[in-house]
């Protein structure tokens, strides 16, 4: 495994349950696996600054995003983490172009290239309700990348897509990861998606991160759990 980009050792509360995770992320695509309700989305929200951590620390590319002891907790917008939530999250009152360029950030040099590779060039004037599920998710991925995040989190990007669109979505994820050199945390419970796309994997069970490592090992661990 390459040098870690993100290092996290943290805990959080959701209602009455406690969650925890201790792991590092390197370049490339890491899958975050686990059954539905195991806390994958909550972990993503804690990392992104949308759900409060209760203890521990998070650092990304050497800068501290959260640290219990020094009291540092950067706002979501200052963390450099792009989040593509599950389901539709495009701003419904804005066109595709306005959604993509929502972030007030310097436009990356690869902006037009990315739009081409995501197949969005012909959709720029549409509104979100005029897009298919897969198109909408590709727009959301482009929107997150325009803020030049240092980590991109994709929450179940293939849910609800047919097998052909699923494969093409995963190809897209691989392409944008290499074009933009952004490490990707891919939340999924589909082992096929993970096997074809990810180089490393993390496993959540009952709100706790219980395994991290190579994809086959983590899948074996998941299968061993009743």
């Amino acid at each position: 495994m390459n040098a870690p980009r993100l290092t996290a050792d943290l805990g959080w509360h959701t209602g009455s349950a406690e969650g925890s995770a201790r792991f590092t992320l390197a370049d490339g695509i890491t899958a975050l696996m686990g059954r539905s309700g195991s806390g994958k989305t909550t972990l993503a929200r804690v990392l992104a600054g949308l759900h409060p951590a209760t203890h521990g620390s998070i650092s990304l590319d050497g800068s501290i995003l959260y640290d219990e002891h020094t009291g540092i907790s950067l706002a979501a917008g200052k963390r450099g983490i792009g989040l593509v939530p599950q389901g539709s999250s495009l701003f419904p009152h804005l066109t595709v172009a306005a959604n993509i360029d929502f972030a007030h950030a310097p436009r990356p040099a690869w902006r037009d290239d990315l739009i081409d590779r995501l197949g969005l060039a012909g959709l720029m004037d549409r509104r979100p309700h005029q897009l298919s599920g897969g198109e909408g998710r590709r727009v959301a991925i482009a929107r997150a990348l325009m803020a030049s995040p240092r980590l991109l989190i994709l929450d179940e990007p293939t849910t609800g897509l047919d097998p052909a669109r699923r494969r093409s979505m995963l190809e897209v994820v691989g392409r944008v990861a290499s074009l933009t050199k952004t490490p990707v945390l891919l939340i999924s419970h589909e082992r096929e998606d993970i096997q074809t796309t990810a180089t490393h994997a993390l496993l959540m069970e009952d709100q706790h991160l219980v395994a991290a490592g190579d994809v086959p090992d983590v899948i074996a661990r998941m299968d061993a759990t009743p």
């Binding site: 706002a75 917008g77 989040l83 999250s89 009152h93 509104r127 979100p128 929107r143 997150a144 803020a147």
Partner: protein, 229 residues
Amino acid sequence: MIGPMESAALILSLKVAGAATLVSLPLAILLAYGMARRDFRGKTIADILLHVPLVVPPVVVGYLLLIAFAPNAPVGRWLEEAGLGVAFRWQGAALASGIMALPLMVRSIRQAFEAEPPIYREVAATLGAGAVARFWRISLPLAAPAIATGTLLGFARAIGEFGATITFASNIPGLTQTLPLALYSAAQIPGGEAEAARLALLCLLPAILALVASEMLSRRARRRTGLAS
């Protein structure tokens, strides 16, 4: 045909209701946003106070305004000295109508803020938008149809305002005599039936137009975003 007396009342009504709505609107948006998004001590009491004009007899609101803003009342005297007096002037009629229209506007706008899925604000936050930017770029445009509807409802309510206005601003032809007040006067005079009927029609027109416009606006907004708003 409408005579000079009716047209004066109509123009005054439009002026009073227009001013009342325009001044109430920013306040209504802020109150609606605060009630929808913030938790603070005394929120329940604030919510009840906000709804008082909807449920008390309007004459009570007019009476309370008179206690505060009459030329010999504490606030009123100070305003009169500053040349900003409102009692027995069209501005007073606008103040009374604005207070009566405010809760309707807040209710309609607040529902839209409450219905906004948090995911939009959250994603906007991860994209670097601060609280003010999220309000201007996400919450406000998403609530625009409800704001338009609330504004038109408030305008219709202000046009129809009677009790608070006659108590606080009095019924002075050409000065504070809006359409409903003129209608009330006409109905008091023997032989005023025809004029009362014309005034009643004039009262109905702007109110119905405002309701039709509000319905058209919300349909257009639904088409534009594909959302059921």
